[in-house]
């Protein structure tokens, strides 16, 4: 009976089908669009997590992978304490130096500042101002000892220098004469001075070997953006006064040094003692271009900073110095670190 009706009104049925298709497509498309619009997140309906405290971290060379891993770990640690760490100055259209960033951070009325300080007077003043305004200040890696900062999280520079010195003695052979230590040209860098005197002390401990050694420093003006590379190139080009060992105290110097040595075919003639454990430095150690490098546990550093801030906020007290572990990476154990990085 149904087939008969269908045959009789074939055209009508076809028409009804057409209109049903229209209605179906229309309703379907309405829902589809709603969904797409919502999923595109046009409306600011994304839920952000809220925090109680707002911390700021200020460093130089914000693009270094070292500071990035410090920051990431700090963020993770801060989340546990219901705080958020903001990297002041990153992603701004203008690059400001530490002093300006500190000024901004103070004006932003953050709850705590983690700062890779320098020993300039302005910075010290600003730190004091921040402390006065009730902002907790922690210095990291580089201290501002004259300021009223709550805590310093850093490496033991004395031990660092000692390790370098011991490595020098290990590398030493009868042809070793000149040892060059690359340092920051800014006058007030107490940390570096400690490292340098510690290196000297370590080397001079072995009187026999240190007799023939000539330990010198080269001041690299870090205010110029590309000064490291230029200075190191000059050193290498000066074929009369080639050093036998170059000691670098930051990752940029290390990279420039090993690149320059490779470019000028001085691999094996110049030994490099480097700093930091980035991938290329590690692979350079593996290739024996760099003899050894010191790594800082960046994650630990980041976590410690936040913990210090929090402790101070909670109790009002925190220890003055929190050390961060360092590790000597040589050819022997470089593979472990390479695996870890991967």
């Amino acid at each position: 009976m149904d087939m008969k009706i269908f045959n009789k009104h074939k055209k009508l049925v076809l028409l009804v089908i057409c209109y049903s298709i229209i209605i179906i497509i229309t309703t379907f498309s309405i829902f589809y669009f709603r969904e797409r619009l919502l999923s595109a997140g046009i409306a600011n309906t994304i839920d952000y997590q809220q925090y109680d405290k707002h911390y700021a971290i200020i460093t130089s060379n914000m693009d270094l992978p070292f500071w990035e891993s410090v920051y990431e770990e700090a963020k993770i640690e801060a989340k546990k304490h219901n705080a958020y760490v903001e990297y002041i100055g990153k992603d701004l259209s203008t690059t400001y130096d530490t002093q300006v960033l500190l000024r901004i951070a103070i004006d932003c009325a953050v709850d705590g500042i983690i700062i890779e300080s320098n020993e300039s007077l302005e910075v010290t003043k600003l730190i004091n101002e921040a402390v006065e305004k009730g902002i907790a200040v922690i210095t990291v890696l580089k201290d501002s000892p004259k300021s009223t900062r709550q805590c310093f999280v850093g490496i033991n520079n004395y031990n660092l220098g000692k390790t370098y010195g011991q490595q020098v003695l290990k590398i030493w052979d009868k042809h070793t004469k000149r040892i060059l230590v690359l340092m920051d040209a800014s006058k007030q860098n107490t940390n570096q001075n400690i490292i340098y005197s510690s290196i000297r002390e370590a080397i001079l401990q072995d009187a026999a070997k240190s007799k023939q050694l000539d330990i010198q420093t080269v001041a690299i003006n870090n205010n110029n953006t590309f000064s490291s590379e230029e200075a190191i190139r000059d050193i290498i080009m000066d074929t009369d006064n080639l050093p036998d060992i170059i000691i670098c105290l930051n990752s940029i110097d290390t990279r420039c040094a090993y690149q320059a040595v490779v470019d000028h075919n001085k691999v094996g003639k110049i030994d490099i003692l480097g700093y930091y454990n980035s991938q290329d430095i590690l692979s350079a150690v593996q290739k024996e271009i760099i003899h050894s490098t010191i790594s800082i546990d960046a994650k630990q550093m980041g976590a410690l900073c936040v913990q210090a801030l929090d402790e101070y906020k909670a109790t009002g007290h925190v220890s003055d110095y929190l050390p961060v572990d360092t590790q000597l990476i040589t050819l022997k154990n470089v593979n472990n670190y390479l695996k870890k990085e991967n």
Binding site: Y19, I22, F33, I42, Y48, D52, Y96, D107
Partner: protein, 503 residues
């Protein structure tokens, strides 16, 4: 369900064509209109969303502008210490304060929101400095306001950097959203076009169905009409489903077909009846004639008549009434001739003798009033002619020519040969015949002989017809009459070639 469909169908069939057309048209328009509205609404909402996308940028630009106006106002006041610049500074400050209140103050892990918080806090610090600067200027503390001004300018630069950076980030974020919206818009376009296309096709289809509904009955009607024009009445009646105008026409058409059929049947019957009646009439007439003939025949039994006359002649002779005997013998000869020669040819001699007999009889009746003169060539006597041709002519001459005249009636009979033709002329000096009558006679339109008059029943028309048939010639007779009372002459000219001796 079926009932609903049926009732709907029934409703549909009762609508007029006009309503149907308007309804379908409105329906298709409505569908297309709805689809369009849907499209426009969607596009509208998309566009408003796109507008919203960049509102954040617009707001930031406003913020930046307000900030700049504060800085400018302050600078202006510091350079001129004018009261309008102070007013300008205060109003800019107020405006900026309002805009600031819209910024986010919560600590979240959204970089954008955090930047807003920073901008707000920095701006508040900045406003503190600017107020102090303005105060210092009013209090004329030159050193202080100069120092504060530098600080404020620095802060101004930092805040601007922040606003610009935030603007850029928002812009990047918004651009991503914008891209998504554009893609969605593209999809919307495609789908809308598809829906519109389907709607249009459906509408066209619907209109097609409707017009088919309207035109197919008309086509059927036309076909049926054609069939009827060919004379084929066996077609089925047109099926009428709808009750609209076309339905009315179809019904009327069906009615017409039935009426025509019935009408044709009626005519047929009428014709048949007429034919039957005509046939009956003919039979009647023939029967009548038959009866008349039989009546006449019954009247004249020739043998009886002949025998009776002979008996009478003998009686007259016995009574020595010679004239009576002669008279009766003439009568007998006359009638004998009539009977004998009814199917035979005669010679001229016999014919003339008959005429003589007739004249004698008439003269007895009318006391010698008829004078008869003969002028005949003797060698023509044996010529064969059809029987009973001269006597009727003479009879006519007497009856119509000289019967009523007051002068002496003379009949002249001439028979002569001239130029291969034999002429037989019968002339009288009676009243004559009008030319019109002559023509009538020649055309054969004279009325059949009236049997009640003094005649033997064979009329001039009959004589002329028989002569024409016998000699196979149209020009066999001529009637001449000079005029009224001038007499009449009837001339028969027969070709002498065809004459034969009596066999």
């Amino acid at each position: 369900m079926k009932r609903i469909i049926n009732s709907l169908q029934h409703k549909w069939y009762t609508l007029t064509i006009r309503i149907k057309l308007v309804a379908v048209f409105m329906f298709t328009c409505f569908i297309i209109f709805t689809v369009n509205i849907f499209m426009y609404m969607n596009i509208d909402s998309m566009i408003s969303k796109i507008n919203q996308v960049y509102i954040s940028n617009v707001n930031l630009n406003e913020l930046s502008g307000a900030l700049a106006s504060i800085q400018n106002g302050m600078t202006d006041y510091l350079s001129t210490k004018g009261s309008e610049s102070l007013q300008g500074y205060y109003s800019s400050e107020q405006r900026y304060g309002k805009l600031l209140s819209r910024l986010n103050t919560t600590i979240t892990d959204s970089h954008i929101l955090l930047m807003e918080k920073n901008i707000k806090n920095m701006s508040e610090a900045y406003l503190v400095v600017t107020r102090e600067t303005v105060q210092a200027k009013r209090g004329r503390n030159v050193e202080k306001y100069k120092k504060n001004y530098d600080q404020a300018s620095d802060l101004f630069a930092y805040i601007n950097t922040y606003i610009n950076s935030l603007n850029n980030e928002q812009f990047k974020y918004n651009s991503d959203n914008y891209k998504v919206l554009l893609i969605s818009l593209g999809y919307l376009k495609t789908i809308s076009m598809t829906i519109l296309l389907i709607a249009i096709i459906s509408s066209v289809f619907l209109v097609y169905i409707l017009t088919h509904n309207i035109t197919s009955p008309l086509i059927h009607l036309a076909k049926a009409a054609n069939q009827i024009a060919k004379g084929n009445f066996e077609i089925n009646l047109v099926e009428v489903k709808a009750l609209d105008e076309v339905g009315v026409v179809s019904k009327a058409f069906n009615q017409m077909i039935l009426s025509i059929e019935a009408y044709i049947d009626k005519i047929k019957i009428n014709l048949e009846t007429e034919n039957i009646m005509k046939a009956k009439e003919l039979i009647m007439t023939s029967h009548l004639k038959d009866a008349q003939l039989k009546y006449l025949q019954a009247q004249i039994n020739p043998h009886f008549l002949f025998n009776t006359l002979n008996a009478g002649a003998q009686l007259a002779m016995m009574e020595e009434a010679d004239k009576t005997c002669l008279f009766i013998e003439n009568m007998a000869d006359f009638f004998r001739y009539n009977i004998k020669k009814i199917n035979e040819d005669a010679t001229l001699e016999e014919e003339i003798r008959l005429v003589d007999n007739y004249i004698y009889i008439l003269n007895v009746r009318f006391s010698g009033e008829i004078h008869f003169e003969k002028t005949i060539e003797e060698d023509l006597m044996k010529v064969c002619v059809p029987s009973m041709i001269l006597q009727p002519i003479v009879e006519n001459a007497i009856n119509y020519g000289i019967r009523e005249v007051s002068w002496q009636g003379v009949i002249k009979l001439k028979v002569y040969e001239e130029a291969d033709h034999i002429y037989i002329s019968i002339q009288d000096n009676g009243v004559g015949i009008s030319q019109g009558k002559i023509e009538e006679i020649m055309r054969g339109e004279i009325i059949e002989p009236d049997l009640s008059k003094n005649s033997n029943g064979i009329g001039l028309g009959n004589v002329i017809n028989r002569l024409k048939l016998y000699y196979d010639c149209e020009d066999i007779i001529e009637i001449i009459s000079s005029g009224k009372n001038q007499g009449t002459e009837v001339i028969i000219h027969i070709p002498s070639m065809s004459n034969k001796k009596e066999t």
